[in-house]
């Protein structure tokens, strides 16, 4: 077992955090938690009753911890109040670390995590009271706060904070997980691999595109910025091209937790199983780890592949 300050703090058995993506279903969260990782759900576009229900069910089905992520520009304080007491970890992203929010998280009995993109933001997060930090490199899929490659960022963050640091961005293999732990991370955050998990809610065409793609097929862009401006994100290049050549204002409609929403051209929602419309022209988020997405797998198998492989690498090297 890979025991780290992260596993001790969160009560996980495995130092892997599921990236909180809107395509995380109750089944995916449960599978990751059961496999020993920290499962995370996203509050983006999720009705509050749905979030509460998901967290409660996940908690009752698994002994493992569940977290929830809020994106600061879309943070609903009422929702935060309603769900914080039901989560082991509440994570915040894409906004300056805010002591008032962290106080609220702590009052509800949860651990506070901030997903940061710079050394200054890491210092601010710890100062604001965070219990742990996720440090994001530019390799990451989805919205990218980071401006540095993962390792240079991680190295600098570790020199200035005391709390456990989760490495985020480009990690999708046992090799990269072992590397992040060797570089001093207490855990790794994995997103793109889990989009292609059996339990994922991602649209099958999105998953197919990930399986076909190599890292060079991803691009850091601001294409899908309608309703969320000034927020660079890494997606498959193909969807930028498809969105550029799409004619019309609406590419389709999505739904999450029973609520439907329109998907205008250049809008951020990625397609899930309930999404209809021109899937190829929607935001198909992918990190540089996309090369490691080779097939649809049960989430537990992905957790095992990474954690057992990383442990083997770390132990083997040390004994030579």
């Amino acid at each position: 077992v890979l025991s780290t300050s992260f596993t001790k703090l969160t009560g996980c058995r495995v130092p892997i955090q599921l990236a909180p993506m809107p395509i995380v279903t109750l089944e995916l969260a449960t599978a990751v938690a059961d496999a020993g990782g920290l499962a995370m759900v996203s509050a983006l576009r999720a009705p509050t009753p749905y979030l509460v229900d998901t967290l409660e069910k996940a908690a009752s089905r698994t002994g493992g911890p569940i977290g929830v992520n809020f994106v600061i520009p879309f943070l609903n304080r009422e929702t935060l109040k309603a769900v914080a007491s039901r989560a082991k970890v509440v994570e915040l992203f894409f906004g300056d670390p805010d002591p008032a929010i962290i106080e609220e998280v702590h009052a509800a009995g949860a651990l506070a995590c901030w997903h940061i993109g710079s050394v200054d933001e890491a210092i601010a997060a710890e100062r604001a009271g965070c219990d742990l930090i996720a440090a994001q490199g530019t390799e990451a899929g989805g919205h990218v706060r980071g401006r540095l490659g993962l390792f240079p960022l991680l190295g600098q963050v570790l020199e200035v904070v005391q709390v456990p640091v989760i490495a985020s961005g480009g990690i999708g293999t046992a090799h990269s997980m072992a590397a992040a732990l060797a570089a001093g991370a207490a855990a790794v955050r994995v997103g793109t691999r889990f989009v292609a998990a059996q339990e994922s809610d991602a649209h099958p065409a999105y998953v197919d595109a990930l399986i076909r793609a190599r890292a060079e097929d991803t691009v850091l862009t601001e294409t899908f910025s309608v309703g969320w401006p000034d927020a660079p994100h890494r997606v498959l290049r193909s969807c930028v091209e498809a969105a550029d050549s799409f004619t019309g204002d609406m590419v389709g409609q999505g739904a999450r937790g029973g609520a439907t929403y329109p998907v205008p051209r250049f809008a951020p929602p990625s397609p899930n199983r309930a999404t209809v419309g021109d899937i190829a022209a929607m935001a198909l988020y992918a990190g540089e780890s996309v090369d490691a997405v080779r097939r649809i797998q049960p989430a537990a198998e992905i957790v095992r592949e990474l954690s057992e492989g990383a442990e083997r690498l770390l132990r083997t090297w040390s004994s030579t």
Binding site: G149, A215, S289
Partner: protein, 330 residues
């Protein structure tokens, strides 16, 4: 940890006959004979920065390497050296242990390098380039991530190294370059499947490096957030690179002024390049670029090349020992 006593043995240390899997990046003008000799003397592998190919400079530095009787490599910017291929012959006459080719098709030079007995090391930035170099006959690959200082492309190291290792197999050692300046970086690179690391910026900030003291001080002072990948400095010094290469430098007044306005800079190239040339001459690094990578944020001191190598190896060894089964079972 006793510095200098530990060593990390990999396929690259065996191939090059060195003790530590640490190579000097052949930085143009910075990696001169003095720094090359210092890195090899500390049991890493020094590589002279042949750069764009200034014959006079190259001959002088090769003479110095000759006199030192140490093992060394020579690195070239391939597309630039291709314009005056006799520089490669000049280098090969001095029997370097290895030749590093970066940025451009290595194929036209493979036979001459191999016939001389030198090991061919090719630096690549993508899977496609890795396959091209391996097919051309490279003995070693350097996978360079976007974190690196100087010229490069856009992919991060964390996924590039394992992808290249998986695709190329274990017969060709793969080295990691970009953003590495300490033992954490070396340990991480080994975990990614690399056989060693190539460090540039860390060696720039050493006593032996040929750069200006003011430039070294800037590397020491900044954080990793203070670098940008751009073509501003290339436009400013009238040094046009083929696509898709851009160069990472420390941010300064000049870069902040022109970043994102490259077309406008091109229109002002006449007066701006004159200003830039004067700034380079005068070591005015508010205008002239300090070519350095994201690892700048990890560099806090200007030390000797030997101290760099001993420190990196000691740190990496301690990390790897931390994960050893014996340590964990305690």
């Amino acid at each position: 940890m006793k510095g200098g006593c530990v060593s990390i043995s990999t396929s690259i240390t065996k191939l090059l006959g060195i003790s530590h899997p640490i190579l000097l990046a052949p930085m143009d003008l910075v990696a001169d004979a003095r720094l090359t000799v210092a890195v090899t003397a500390a049991e890493g592998f020094g590589i002279l920065g042949g750069g764009y190919g200034d014959e006079q400079w190259l001959v002088r530095e090769l003479d110095l390497l000759d006199q030192s009787h140490t093992r060394f490599g020579v690195g070239f910017i391939t597309w630039s050296m291709a314009k005056q291929p006799k520089l490669l012959d000049l280098a090969l006459e001095r029997k370097p242990t290895a030749v590093v080719l970066s940025f451009g098709n290595p194929l036209p030079f493979v036979d001459r390098i191999k016939r001389s007995g030198a090991i061919l090391i090719c630096q690549i930035q993508s899977l496609a380039l890795a396959k091209e170099a391996a097919a051309a006959g490279a003995d070693v690959l350097i996978a360079q991530g976007t974190e690196a200082g100087g010229h490069g492309i856009s992919r991060g190291l964390v996924s590039l190294v394992p992808e290249v290792v998986d695709a190329i197999g274990t017969s060709i050692p793969v080295l990691a370059a970009g953003g590495i300046a300490d033992g954490r970086g070396l340990a991480a690179a080994l975990m990614l499947g690399a056989s060693g690391v190539v460090m540039g910026t860390r060696f720039y900030a050493t006593h032996e490096a040929a750069g200006a003291q003011e430039a070294k001080e800037r590397i020491r002072a900044v954080t990793g957030d203070d670098t940008l990948r751009s073509i501003v400095f290339d436009i400013s010094r009238r040094n046009v690179w083929p696509e898709p290469f851009t160069g990472r430098c420390l941010r300064n007044v000049h870069l902040d002024r022109w970043f994102g306005r490259e077309l406008e800079l091109l229109r002002h190239q006449e007066e701006e390049s004159a200003r830039y040339a004067a700034a380079r001459r005068d070591n005015d690094f508010d205008i002239a670029a300090v070519i350095a990578g994201e690892s700048s944020g990890l560099i806090r001191d200007i030390i000797s090349a030997r101290e760099v190598i001993e420190r990196v190896v000691a740190e990496a060894s301690a990390i790897l020992a931390h994960w050893s089964p014996q340590t964990v079972s305690k």
